[in-house]
């Protein structure tokens, strides 16, 4: 049985082996059928038919295509759609989030621990208490109770420096400002004093004289020159070439009587030859010589007359200028491009006369007008040497524009008044038919000149541009309109005329300035400047006057 089963399995295995790789070629009919079925004639026919087939789609289709082509791409549409898409989460979801964000727990914890205190353990307190035992502290306090050490000197120096402003009712800054202002005033006053101290000795100071009790000073002289004039008339006046010629002195040689009363002035020969003598004489001479008129003359003993001698050589012309202020300090804030200011000056003035023709030296002077006049000390000399009391002042408003941080252009309008006195001794001759013909009488005269100008300067100012005190220089031209120019004589019978005036004049100026900011927009400044006329004040061919001024001034400038 067992062998039977074995044989049967063997048979199946053998069958499997035989049929596993068994292959039989199908019949040709089968192949034909298959070929027929696989033949692609129909497909080819369809392909051929539809290969170039075209059919116009309907308008609707085309419209849809066009619409889709114009529209943004699908992705973009999606992106746009979802980009700002918002959807309120459900209440349930929100509640969950809210629960998560709630800090009530933290708040509770903070509250709990904020004022939490726990008594430390007894051991802790014991340790602390032990350390808090006051015996240690008492010992330390004793040690340090009287402990002293000297700090460095620098400490006090710094304290002193810091206390400086507090020691004054004004702050140091204000104090500095006031100091600068005061310095400016002192500078100006000092300058005026110095200039005025240079005034020339006056004629009366130079004449050493003794007066009698009547004290009406008259200088009655006779000299050879005058005698010559008396005899030969004015037409024969000589031309003197020596401008420095001194008045010669002669003593009248005999009694001289007149029906008119004359107060006599004795003029001694003591001509001051040195400065000390002049000073002594000045001290003695407190009385001002009064102008004399003919009617007051009394008969005098001419023998009593001595010398009238005047030395004008010691005179030194003093000159000056007036300039509109140049408080050019522009402060550090360059945004203030413009400024307006006021200023005032004290000036030292010099008319600066010069004789330009020989005719100016005629005797009697061609500048004199009057009856029977002589010219004892020659007016042309007086013009050059006997000008004194040269005072002047000016004030005005200034405008300016800051061109750069260091350059400014400035103009303004300034009024200037100047005056001076010319000492002159005029000689009046007696009438020709008088018994005193040939004897002239000298009268001391003073000619007062007053000149007023309106100046419009324009100048460039170069200055430092620092915080605080600034320095600068200025220079420019000024148009000077002559408002008035008078020559007034003390003696009514004699007049002086130097010629017609030039109404419009031109002058050049230059100056030094300092300024200091009082406040943010207000500067105080001082200026010293020099101005000189470029043309003569007179339309004359015999004399010219190109005045000049030396000025010291103060001003305020408000920045706009």
């Amino acid at each position: 049985m067992k062998n039977l089963v074995h044989d049967q399995n063997h048979f199946e295995d053998e069958l499997s082996r035989i049929f596993d790789n068994a292959a039989i070629e199908p019949s040709s009919k089968v192949w034909q059928d298959i070929d027929h079925r696989l033949g692609n004639k129909v497909e080819n026919a369809f392909q051929t038919a539809f290969q170039d087939a075209l059919l116009q789609p309907s308008d609707l289709v085309w419209q849809n295509i066009a619409k889709n082509l114009d529209a943004p791409p699908f992705e973009k549409l999606l992106k746009n759609t979802f980009e700002n898409a918002e959807l309120l989460p459900s209440d349930h979801l929100w509640k969950g989030i809210s629960d998560q964000l709630d800090n009530s727990l933290e708040n509770s914890l903070q509250k709990v621990f904020a004022n939490a205190e726990l008594e430390p353990s007894k051991n802790t307190w014991k340790g602390i208490a032990k350390n808090l035992d006051s015996s240690f502290e008492n010992s330390l306090q004793k040690v340090f109770g009287k402990a002293e050490l000297s700090p460095s000197k620098k400490v006090w120096q710094n304290i002193e420096k810091a206390l400086l402003p507090a020691n004054h009712w004004l702050s140091a800054t204000i104090w500095k400002k006031i100091a600068v202002a005061a310095a400016c005033v002192c500078l100006m006053l000092g300058g005026v004093y110095v200039f005025n101290s240079k005034k020339l000795p006056t004629a009366e100071k130079q004449v050493g004289k003794k007066t009698d009790s009547t004290n009406v000073p008259e200088n009655l002289t006779k000299n050879s020159e005058q005698k010559n004039i008396a005899k030969n008339s004015v037409e024969n006046a000589e031309i003197l070439s020596n401008k420095n010629e001194k008045t010669t002195t002669t003593t009248f040689d005999n009694n001289f009587t007149s029906s008119k009363s004359i107060n006599i002035v004795k003029v001694e020969k003591n001509v001051p030859s040195t400065k000390n003598q002049v000073k002594d004489l000045n001290a003695q001479e407190n009385k001002i010589v009064q102008p004399t008129i003919i009617e007051n003359l009394k008969l005098v003993d001419l023998s009593d007359f001595q010398t009238l001698a005047i030395d004008y050589n010691s005179k030194t012309p003093i000159l000056t200028l007036v300039l509109p202020v140049a408080f050019q300090s522009e402060n550090e804030k360059t945004e203030y491009a413009y400024f307006v200011g006021i200023s005032g000056f004290a000036n030292q003035y010099n008319p600066n006369f010069a004789l330009t023709s020989a005719n100016a030296y005629l005797i009697p002077s061609p500048f004199l007008a009057g009856d029977r006049l002589g010219d004892t000390n020659k007016f042309h000399n007086s013009l050059l040497d006997s000008v004194r009391n040269l005072s002047s002042y000016s004030f005005g408003i200034d405008f300016g524009k800051k061109l750069t941080s260091n350059f400014s252009l400035q103009t303004g309008v300034h009024y200037t008044a100047s005056s001076f006195v010319i000492d002159h001794i005029v000689n009046q001759l007696p009438p020709k038919d008088s018994q005193f013909a040939g004897f002239g009488i000298n009268f001391k005269n003073m000619v007062h000149s007053n000149t007023e100008w309106l100046s419009i300067p324009i100048k460039i100012v170069v200055q430092s541009d620092r915080k605080g005190l600034n320095y600068g220089i200025s220079g420019g031209l000024s148009a000077d309109i002559l408002l008035a120019n008078t020559l007034k004589s003390d003696l009514s019978f004699v007049q002086y005329n130097l010629g017609a005036n030039n109404r419009l004049n031109l002058s050049a100026n230059m100056g030094l300035t300092i300024s200091y900011p009082l406040f943010d927009r207000l500067d105080i400044g001082a200026e010293m400047n020099y101005r000189k006329a470029l043309n003569s004040l007179y339309q004359s061919d015999m004399v010219e006057a190109k005045p000049h001024w030396l000025s010291l001034g103060l001003g305020l400038k408000f920045k706009l």
Binding site: N123, I128, K130, N131, F136, L140, Q141, V143, L163
Partner: protein, 190 residues
């Protein structure tokens, strides 16, 4: 109100108020040395102390007219000096790291140290070695004599903090003192 001033000091104060620089100098000379030591106690360097002193005296002179004369002038000046010192130190405290003070509980203190053996310069040097907060609290409590409650108000801390930090400072200082009394010669000891 009790007036603590008689004679010369009254005059000195009025002169200082009116800006008399000589009087100011005299007042400064009178109190600056003591106040300098105070400043040194609250500072780490002499430079810092002089800075405090300078600032303090400028305040003194600028506010002398506000002095009510209800206490000795020295106290009033010292209060200004201390306030100035605290102001200086507060700046440092903002930057200084906080320290754990709990460990001090285990630190022993040694009361056996005799302070009288030291001069104030030696103690000063030790105080200056303390951390700024300890230094302040130590000075205020141990030397100035303020209460911990007052110190707490002055420094804006809890009273307990003041106490514990003071205790810690004291321990540190006592350690320094002990170390100073028994120096360890590690390298050179035989």
């Amino acid at each position: 109100m009790q007036n603590h001033f008689q004679g010369n000091e009254e005059w000195l104060i009025s002169e200082c108020i009116s800006g008399n620089s000589k009087a100011q100098r005299q007042l400064y000379e009178q109190y600056s040395k003591k106040m300098y030591v105070v400043c040194l106690r609250y500072s780490k360097t002499t430079f810092e102390a002089e800075d405090m002193l300078q600032e303090s005296f400028i305040k003194v002179f600028n506010h002398l007219q506000d002095f009510q004369k209800d206490c000795p002038l020295e106290f009033w000046i010292k209060r200004i000096v201390i306030n100035t010192a605290l102001k200086h130190n507060r700046r440092k405290l903002d930057k200084a790291p906080t320290e754990d003070v709990t460990e001090m509980l285990n630190e022993p203190s040694d009361d056996a140290v005799v302070l009288s053996n030291y001069n104030f310069q030696e103690l000063l040097a030790m105080i200056q070695k303390l951390a700024p907060r300890y230094q302040m609290i130590f000075n205020l409590y141990a030397i100035e004599g303020y209460k911990h409650k007052e110190i707490a108000d002055m420094l804006g801390i809890n009273e307990g903090t003041s106490k514990s930090q003071y205790a810690r400072a004291k321990v540190i200082l006592q350690k320094m003192l002990i170390q100073d009394e028994n120096p360890v010669y590690e390298k050179f000891s035989p």
